[in-house]
Amino acid sequence: MCLALPALVTELLPEDSAKVNLGGVTKTVSLALVSDVKPGDYVIVHVGYALSVIDPEEAARTLELFREMGEMAPEALA
């Protein structure tokens, strides 16, 4: 696989890079592979590069699906 994590973009830096924050840890990553990133976005970071921007609406939708699943599951089988 490829170890990659969502991190919050806190500051755009020169030379197509940005400062990101993950759980209080900050790191400078390259934005060479993404477009239109702005502070406040979450990007998926792999080997020091942002690969894609997280879509907050899709994330919320996925979490909602998890929850619906739980409600549908018959408790008796637990």
């Binding site: 400078t28 970071v45 080997v47």
Partner: protein, 349 residues
């Protein structure tokens, strides 16, 4: 100091000077270094005798002795340096027998060219750690190696201590049913050190937890002399240390992921580097294994000590012919928590 200083026409140039081979040569330059730096900093009765050994009274009882080498890079890290680490690490190794540490020795192997200002910073920090802990460095040694034959500075130490009567703490004493406690958050030291490695390129506010644990241990032992095992999870982290104890005692262990205290920043750094906080080093935390009924009392004592505020019960020992350390994950499944395999290297996959 009351003893007259030896006459050295010019004091050491701490600001700009560097260690050279004469500082380890046994002549006047070495005497000056020992006098103006080491004896001045450590300043205690035994050392001030200026003998090749430190002499001191010891109370009766079982004595413990330990030795350790410090080869850390970088030498200075957030929350400590190689000097304070050498004192804390050795005091802790003595204390993990339930013993009261009495005295330390220190050997310095210094690379030619090492800045005297860095040496002074290290020795000062080491002396402060030793005074704060109330455990003097009573004897020492200095060697200088040629440039390229050392990594700046290495420190070796020995420490001795006395075990109070009735205390028999040892790694082979864990029994099925015993509780497993830790004194605080895991992985702080390792992450603080890694954050200083330029190649990893991340920043945190995490400080090393480097600290001397003997006063907390003294309070624990006084309350519960029957503590089975104490150990500090240094290199290899919590996971490797628990495996060591499980093997020595011939028991299995089951801990719960949700109960293991880890700071969010440590988790964040570990996620970034692909490391597991259970394997990251600590220098100011201990693992305590005790009878289940003693656990609440020991937790109270730890939590009322400044170094044990985040103490927690993380699991229990159990019968297991294979001596597995297992963990119930946050998801509710089980997994083995194995020894560290090789060195923990940051990974990309």
């Amino acid at each position: 100091m009351t003893l007259p200083r030896r006459a050295h026409p010019r004091p050491l140039d701490i600001q700009n000077g560097r260690v050279d081979l004469t500082h380890g040569g046994g002549g006047r330059a070495m005497a000056q270094l020992v006098e103006e730096l080491f004896i001045a900093a450590f300043d205690n009765e035994a050392l001030n005798q200026r003998n090749d050994q430190g002499a001191f009274e010891v109370p009766g009882g079982r004595m413990v002795m330990t030795t350790d080498g410090y080869v850390i890079s970088p030498l200075f890290f957030p929350g400590g340096d190689i000097g304070s680490l050498a004192v804390h690490g050795t005091v802790n190794d003595v204390a993990m027998a339930g013993a009261k540490p009495i005295s330390l020795s220190a050997g310095f192997i210094i690379e030619e060219g090492f800045p005297l200002s860095d040496l002074k910073r290290i020795v000062t920090s080491m002396a402060k750690a030793s005074k704060d802990a109330g455990v003097p460095v009573v004897t020492g040694d200095t060697k200088v190696v040629e440039k390229g034959k050392g990594d700046g500075i290495f420190i070796t130490t020995a420490g001795i201590g006395i075990v109070p009567p009735g205390v028999e703490i040892s790694g082979d004493k864990a029994r099925p049913g015993d509780a497993i406690l830790v004194s605080g958050t895991m992985g702080d030291h390792g992450v603080a050190v890694m954050s200083q490695r330029e190649s990893l390129g991340f920043e945190t506010e995490i400080l090393s937890d480097s600290a001397a644990l003997h006063t907390m241990v003294a309070a624990m032992v006084a309350a519960v002399p029957g503590i089975r095992v104490l150990r500090d999870p240094t290199r290899g982290g919590l996971a490797s240390t628990l495996n060591e104890i499980a093997g020595q005692s011939g028991v299995g262990m089951l801990m719960e992921e949700a109960l293991v205290p880890v700071k969010p920043q440590v988790l964040g750094a570990c996620e970034l580097l692909g490391l597991d906080p259970l394997y990251v080093a600590n220098e100011g935390k201990l693992i305590c294994i005790c009878a289940e009924e003693d656990a609440p009392r020991l937790l109270d004592i730890m939590r009322s000590h400044p170094l044990g505020r985040d103490a927690a019960r993380i699991g229990a020992c159990r019968e297991d012919a294979h001596h597995f350390v297992q963990m119930k994950t946050r998801m509710g499944g089980n997994r083995v928590v194995d020894w560290l395999a090789g060195e923990q290297l940051p990974r990309i996959c």
